[in-house]
């Protein structure tokens, strides 16, 4: 399931999926602008059929945060 998340992040950020890991985020990726950040959250909502809260949307510093928020909505990404 992590692959689905990584692939989507890679697609939105326009980087190879192999470069994505749980520590990837705006700090470590030049492509991760605030604009692409909200496009990512929006596309994640569609892909995983969830609706993040405003607090969750604002609290994304790295992929691990997204995983944590997805878990809040019952999406467990087991590798």
């Amino acid at each position: 399931m992590s692959k689905k998340l990584y692939d989507l992040v890679a697609k939105v950020m326009n980087v190879p999926s192999s470069t994505i890991n749980d520590e990837s985020g705006p700090e470590s990726m030049a492509n991760w602008t605030s604009f692409k950040g909200y496009v990512l959250l929006y596309e994640l909502e569609t892909a995983f059929s969830v609706k993040f809260t405003l607090d969750e949307a604002m609290d994304v510093k790295k992929i691990a945060d997204i995983k944590r928020h997805l878990e809040n909505h019952g999406i467990i990404l087991n590798d």
């Binding site: 697609k11 605030s34 496009v39 929006y42 405003l54």
Partner: protein, 589 residues
């Protein structure tokens, strides 16, 4: 074009990624577009660039700063003006414009609400007038979304000049103010939100997160609507829809199901085909040419077209009927020849994937449309197409269907007479020369934008350009209306002459619509220019032929009229004698 792509857009991130691959690619046409917005609308520039590239247009986009539209328009040294856009889109959100009144419309009285809207429309008009006085750019201003919510709830519709009425009035006033403008267009953003749904387009979380008022999934749809203006501006509007018959205009196969067995009528699925035909007829009534390209027995198919009680499109609505067993590529080439239009101005609709594939491979310049396997979607698909967008619809456009029907009758006459001169004599051709004025300028501009074949220089002029020429003593601008015994062809010829000095005029633009090519009408129009030049004491007329891939038909026009080659130019000495065919009646109005 796969039907799925026409109904369901790709994700915004797909457009952003594709846009990053456009660098270094070259395209046939170029356009500069500015986007000014009072809220965050990132990504639209990428979607527009990708959609433009799909139509072979290099679109450079200037995205104004967030909520900087006022400053950019008011400051004449702003980057907006330095960018010199051809088209500018201005989106101001209802919340921004109404301010606190957006939430508290009933904190003020009805008369205060009216005064408030009066003040707002004046502010917007002033802003637009400043913009149009400083740039030649077309301006497309989005109107205002009317939110579904009102604090008055059910009582909203019973309230005099209530919240919703205020915004409706603002929209109405905005449209009225610029209805007659050739440079300002109002985009119906309110309808856009209705079409896709307020709850989809507007996402509160994104709004609070970053003042985003159009959700990412809907940005490509908005870009599609904006593309309509770019298509209209560049004059690359499609002119003709070529249709298959079986399972396209009716359900079933006439050769197998026979007259009474085809699906066409008030019951499903026949009603889907009736609806599709109605949409096509409406397009025909605004100037889109219809033609048939079908593998069938001619008599079987024509019987349906002429006699079926639920057929909406009849013989007179088609400019050409290719119903035979020839291959569809040969047929469509013949249709293009008959109608004198370029293949790139044609759309081909056929339910059969093999026919479509054959067309796409053989003639990629034709837009081949997959109407989807489901006839209930045919109408939706045609309505989603922005290829028929035009910034102006002239009276010639609305008459085009009738004109092509008359053209078919001309062709029939042509086949009954043995030589071309007898044919032209029998046509009883009349050429009425008109000057550029408020009635003719939209059509003159349209012809310069659309005419490719019999066009000496292929210079494209917007209405504002023609207006400027017509107000300038250094220019002589006119057009020709062509009539014959079968009807009125409308304004089909245009000239723009630049008076370089007292002895020499320059033929900047000279064109004839393909509709009247081959009748020597052009000599009547040129004769008028020559007469005017003589009256003004001019000694010579200088002209230039700028070859393009499409204007071969006019290649020999200048030497045939007595122009002599002089370097890159052609010179007509006023001592020469141009013979105007005696079957032409030329009248100057």
């Amino acid at each position: 074009m796969p039907y799925q792509n026409m109904l369901i857009e790709q994700k915004l991130s797909d457009y952003i990624n594709k846009a990053s691959d456009l660098a270094g690619k070259t395209f046939e046409k170029k356009v500069r577009v500015a986007i000014l917005c009072s809220f965050t609308i990132n990504g639209i520039e990428d979607a527009i660039r990708v959609k433009a590239a799909d139509k072979n247009i290099d679109c450079t986009v200037y995205a104004g700063g967030y909520n900087q539209h006022n400053q950019e328009i008011l400051n004449q040294d702003s980057d907006l003006y330095k960018f010199s856009p051809h088209i500018s889109f201005l989106m101001m959100d209802t919340r921004n414009v109404l301010g606190e009144i957006f939430h508290f419309p009933y904190s003020i009285s009805e008369s205060e609400r009216k005064s408030f809207i009066e003040k707002k429309i004046k502010e917007i008009e002033d802003l637009i007038n400043i913009f149009t006085s400083r740039t030649k750019s077309k301006l497309v201003i989005a109107n205002f979304n009317i939110p579904t919510y009102s604090s008055y709830g059910l009582f909203e519709t019973k309230t005099e000049y209530g919240f919703h009425k205020m915004i409706e009035d603002l929209n109405h006033r905005l449209a009225s103010s610029f209805a007659n403008s050739g440079s300002v267009y109002v985009y119906d953003f309110n309808s856009f939100v209705s079409q896709y749904g307020e709850n989809n387009v507007f996402d509160y979380k994104l709004f609070f997160f970053g003042d985003i008022k159009v959700s990412p999934d809907y940005i490509p749809y908005l870009a599609n609507d904006f593309m309509s203006y770019i298509i209209g501006y560049l004059g690359i509007t499609k002119k003709c829809i070529v249709l298959d018959l079986d399972n396209t205009l009716w359900g079933g196969i006439i050769g197998e199901d026979e007259f009474s067995g085809i699906k066409l009528g008030p019951e499903p699925p026949g009603n889907a085909y009736v609806e599709f035909q109605k949409v096509l007829l409406a397009l025909h009534q605004r100037g889109i040419i219809l033609a048939i390209n079908s593998k069938n027995n001619y008599d079987d198919a024509l019987k349906v077209i002429k006699e079926h009680p639920y057929m909406i499109l009849r013989e007179e609505h088609f400019a050409s009927l290719k119903i035979n067993w020839n291959d569809k590529v040969s047929n469509i080439k013949e249709i293009a020849n008959e109608l004198n239009i370029g293949l790139d101005s044609m759309v081909f609709i056929d339910d059969d994937p093999i026919n479509r594939e054959f067309m796409k491979l053989s003639l990629p310049e034709i837009l081949t449309v997959d109407p989807s396997p489901d006839p209930s979607q045919y109408t939706n698909i045609i309505k989603k197409m922005n290829e028929f967008s035009a910034l102006n619809i002239t009276s010639e456009d609305t008459q085009r269907g009738k004109m092509y029907s008359e053209q078919r009758k001309r062709s029939e006459l042509e086949h009954t007479v043995t030589d071309i001169e007898s044919f032209l004599k029998q046509l009883e051709l009349k050429v009425f020369i008109k000057s550029a004025n408020e009635f003719t300028i939209p059509r003159i501009s349209q012809l310069t934008l659309k005419t490719n074949q019999f066009n000496l220089t292929t210079k494209r002029y917007q209405e504002s350009d023609i207006q400027k020429f017509s107000n300038d003593d250094k220019y002589f601008v006119g057009c020709a209306q062509v009539l014959d015994k079968f009807g009125d062809n409308g304004i089909t010829g245009v000239f723009v002459v630049r008076k370089d000095n007292s002895k020499e005029w320059f033929l900047d633009t000279f064109l004839m619509s393909c509709r009247v090519m081959g009748r020597e009408v052009e000599k009547g129009l040129l004769g008028h220019i020559i007469n005017k030049a003589k009256e003004s004491g001019v000694e010579r007329i200088k002209a230039q032929f700028i070859p393009t891939q499409k204007n071969k038909p006019i290649e020999n026009f200048l030497p045939a009229c007595g122009f002599k080659k002089d370097g890159d130019y052609w010179i007509y000495s006023l001592d020469s004698k141009l013979t105007i065919p005696n079957y032409l009646v030329v009248r100057v109005e």
